[in-house]
């Protein structure tokens, strides 16, 4: 059984268990069933030119790699332009963000290679390539789709020393709501997932959860 068939079977199995109270069934069948390929790109503008000039269907751009739907016409034209298209594995490229119901400890769950986003009382929310998410299932975890508006960022307050710029937080990819400079220091409020909070704390920042349900939030 090849892996794609295995995944499809897995998704059927989950669909059959849709009466479970534990979240919405999740298909791990790739959304894109055509062959995909990757090329090296110089910058983002090049991506938009490829889309405009070659009608390239992009899957994802990450760093200097662009993943796209590969058909013979497109790949030949890319070769003519000096690119070197390489076939790519959709199961490594396409990712899912999912609920993983708690069982055992977190470190054990993360051994599959997925990336933690949030910790909820009954489940973790993680992200990873289809192959890694599928491996969670084979290891016995219950994996379901996200609920509405998940994952929900936590509202946090980060305290920086007086005079320090909030620009230092850029690498954490937060959703910064506000910055307030007080004589005692700089207060940044932001939306952050649990993994980002972990990262901030590991880097030595003082992070405080403000609320779990923001005002007016559902």
């Amino acid at each position: 059984m090849n892996f794609r068939k295995f995944l499809a079977l897995g998704s059927l199995t989950v669909a059959a268990c849709s009466s479970t109270p534990r979240g919405v069934p999740l298909s791990l069948t790739p959304r894109e069933d055509r062959p995909i390929a990757a090329i090296t790109i110089g910058d983002a503008t090049e991506v938009s030119l490829l889309v405009q000039e070659l009608s390239l269907e992009t899957i994802r751009a990450e760093g200097n790699r662009l993943y796209f739907v590969a058909d013979s016409r497109v790949t030949q034209r890319l070769r003519d332009l000096g690119y070197t298209p390489e076939s790519a594995d959709i199961l490594q490229v396409e990712r899912r963000t999912v609920r993983v119901y708690r069982r055992g400890d977190e470190a054990e769950m993360l051994r599959s290679g997925v990336t933690l986003i949030n910790r909820e009382p009954d489940y973790w929310i993680v992200n990873g390539p289809l192959r890694q998410v599928a491996s969670l299932r084979t290891r016995g975890y219950t994996v379901t789709a996200l609920g509405p508006n998940e994952p929900l960022p936590r509202e946090v307050r980060i305290r920086l020393p007086a005079g320090q710029s909030s620009l230092v937080l850029g690498a954490f990819e937060l959703d910064i709501y506000s910055v307030y400079s007080a004589p005692t220091g700089v207060e940044v409020t932001a939306g952050a997932f649990d993994a980002q909070i972990d990262g901030l704390r590991a880097a030595g920042y003082n992070v405080e959860r403000i609320s779990t349900v923001p005002p007016g939030g559902s």
Binding site: G42, I59, Y83, R95, V179, E187, S211, G217
Partner: protein, 618 residues
Amino acid sequence: MRIIPCLTLAVGLGTTQAAAQAIDFTAYHTAAQVDLEINRFQTRFPALVRVISLGNSLEGKAIRAIKISDNPAVDETGEGDILFVALHHAREWLSTETALYLAEQILTRYATDPKVKFDVDNLQIWIVPVVNPDGYLHTDVVATPAGYRYWRKNRRANSDGTFGVDLNRNWGFQWGLIPGASNTPSNDTYYGTGPFSEPETQVLRTFIDSRPGLKAFVSYHTYGELFLRPWSYTTSDPPGESTLLSLYERSRDAISAVHGHVYVPDIWYTSSGEATDYLWSERRIAGFTPELRPTTAQGGGGLSGFSFPPSIIIPTGEEQVPAALALVHDAAAREVWIRDHATDTGAEPSAVWTASGWSTPFWVSPDIWTTPAELTEGTTVTLHVRVHNNFGAPVSGVRVEAYWTDPRIALEFPALSSTLIDAQTVNVPPVGKTLTMSWTVPSGTNSWGERHWCVGVVIKHQRDMPLTTQAQRSSNIAVRNFTTVAAAAAGANRQVAATNFLDTDAELRVLVSPLPAGWAVRMPDIRELKPYALDRRERARPQPLDPAAIVRKGRLLKATGAVLRAGESVLIPFTVVPPAGAPTGTAADISLQGLLLPLVAGKREPQGNGYTFHVVVR
């Protein structure tokens, strides 16, 4: 609080009275109510408003513009355009209210305020209150019970199972740069699968591309009481920073004069793929991002700042309108101006690129000259600048800035590489005024070994500011190039320089203006010349580029000229050949023209200018 009884009230008052009723700004409007109010603008002001759908959102909702003009049914391409947009981010409801408030003020003042009437009669004003209609509906948890009041992005179903792309990280300039955005789809600053991957940003780009006369852009956001200008992706200054700074300072003062709130230019975080950066990078159109009320201190910080009580709507609108109307007037008015060429009337643009080159050399302003006319290096000369007045009455407080720099094909003023000669603040009577400045002509050669310099003049006035750095697109900017010898000798080897001053890769095309009979110019194929980085002061290069990428972009777009990376220059050698047997003293003016076409998707807006040499047979 949101307005619930609106429709009931309309019925109760009767159709005619309700149709004429001003917008109620005591509560936030639902998405449906915003649509209703947009429609009512056209009903209430049929002679001034057309509601136009610019395209559809991802879920098929119309992204609608309120067009305000004295002839709204006609596309008056001879007039300029200005664009105000709001609600890139779904939870920022106050931005939509502010856009509606601005439209209401312009339309109700038209009948009584001569300045507003002048602007509406001479400009096309476009207001898009909701860029992100899908996200907006999602934040209305009454209409959308499964929604979320603090949703930020659009409603793209990402391939990983999460939703949403941050539309103000999805524009095409510096897209994908981290820090400044996120490649994680679940993050609120997720930049999407590619630049302009989202229908909402595509719709705006297509509209912007369709408006060659677009002069300024404002994108309302909340919150923090900030007034931001490019760049957003970096803390480095952009080319033309002093122009943007002047516009910021005037906006800040106009806002604070109303209720005393001072909007500061602080950058809390960098934003890549942002709207105003795109406009400034690719079109040199001034764009601003007001982050509206409240301040962090008022709002308590956090999410509550996005859902501040609706009592904030009117004072926010009141303080934003003067700043917005000042930009509108900049775009509409020619109160003080300077000629780009002898037949320049102040119309913008003063020259356009055609198949045979620039329609008129615009780098030879007759309003900039020196005494003596022939320059000698190292000597101090008098620089004369003529400023015209189109206001019909004296205009006081006109700031005139003159700069010199190395000449280039493709030049802007002010550039970070230009040097201020002098700046004076003067009164300009209705007949105009000639200023004099002292200029010490540079000694030695310029960066490419020539005695050839360019002077640029920028005119600023609180009621008429430049909104770009491009001479041909602004009546407030003019350029004149000078040689420090009376004339170049025919037959001698010479060179001109071209710099890609855009912050994006570009194609350079060079051509020679029509020559007098018998004269010729010999020049190599510019594609064979080796470009080099000359002046990196002008730009930040935050990410290393694949050197092959520029070539691939050129091939994708079938470039016929040389391809230059951002900041690169190229020296172009040439020889002027006089007619055979021409006697000594035979002379001709030889102009070389340049054009930069950015290597970007969408419309490729040409930018550039030229050199003129007076060549004499010796």
